[in-house]
């Protein structure tokens, strides 16, 4: 990939530059840990999975041909190891039961809003304490079902493309979009509940 932001560091790492390794670890650690936590029972186990993944990366460096971005390759290794390590096997139900974006009781019998969204966007911009907002949002993300949390984290926090997310999680584009939709819808509702009606 021409525009892989990790390409320079990868080159340095291949040349044996320890500092390049540390920078790569720092850059990707939080995303890896969060992702691993969705598969294994504790943070301690997730940390082992992350370490194990980096060891796999170092050993597999020669085989990485750059057909995907380094990050996609890295996270795929992570997910594979986390799945192997994790007690839970959840791949058979990638999407789960239908789940409306908005509680159906908020619409009337014709599908129009009966209880329309309470306004909070301007309030969030104008007055809300940024730290409070971030805290509420983080806990709402933590409360998402695992699959939704993975997709929302990778797309909206880590900034992966939908193609990258599909590749990392080995899910179809359609499932990726359903999970993203449900996850984002839940987060919107959490923010409305917290900050709406001001």
């Amino acid at each position: 990939m021409d525009q892989d932001p990790d390409a320079d560091l990868l080159g340095r790492l291949r040349a044996g530059d320890e500092q390049a390794f540390v920078i790569l670890v720092r850059r990707h650690h939080a995303a890896m840990l969060r992702l691993a936590c969705g598969y294994v029972p504790s943070v301690a186990v997730a940390e082992e999975v992350v370490q194990d993944t980096w060891l796999g990366v170092l050993r597999g460096l020669g085989g990485f041909e750059g057909r995907s971005s380094f990050r996609t390759w890295l996270l795929r290794i992570l997910v594979n190891r986390a799945r192997t390590t994790g007690a839970r096997e959840r791949r058979s139900v990638p999407v789960g039961d239908p789940e409306p974006a908005v509680d159906p009781s908020r619409f009337d019998g014709t599908g129009h809003w009966a209880a329309p969204p309470e306004r909070w966007v301007e309030e969030a911009d104008r007055r809300l304490d940024a730290a409070k907002l971030a805290g509420r949002l983080r806990s709402a993300i933590d409360d998402l079902p695992d699959r939704q949390r993975e997709v929302v984290t990778l797309r909206d926090i880590e900034g992966l493309s939908s193609e990258e997310v599909c590749s990392v999680l080995e899910i179809s584009e359609g499932n990726q979009r359903v999970l993203l939709h449900r996850g984002r819808s839940r987060l919107r509702q959490a923010l409305e509940t917290e900050f709406g009606g001001a």
Binding site: G16, F107, G111, P117, R177
Partner: protein, 93 residues
Amino acid sequence: MLPKLFRSRHKIVCQQAVELVTDYLEGRLSRAGRRRFEAHLAGCPHCTEYLAQMRATIELTGTLTADDLPGPVQDEFIDLYRRWRADAGDGPG
């Protein structure tokens, strides 16, 4: 499932519109679907607000920064790297 009443080819109602928001933002609606969605928004301030809230939610989520790596954890990775170099003999070529 939505009642049959809602399955019109021409107009969508609010309860359908909120389910189309992600497809809309991802550019995955057909041209006709996009037109129907936008026509609904043009006449519906609540769904316009809803879309603005979804956009704001995405934007706010994007401002959450990755937690920084604590020093001791970083040291573990330096150890890991050095062990690997040692095991790999003269290291990567």
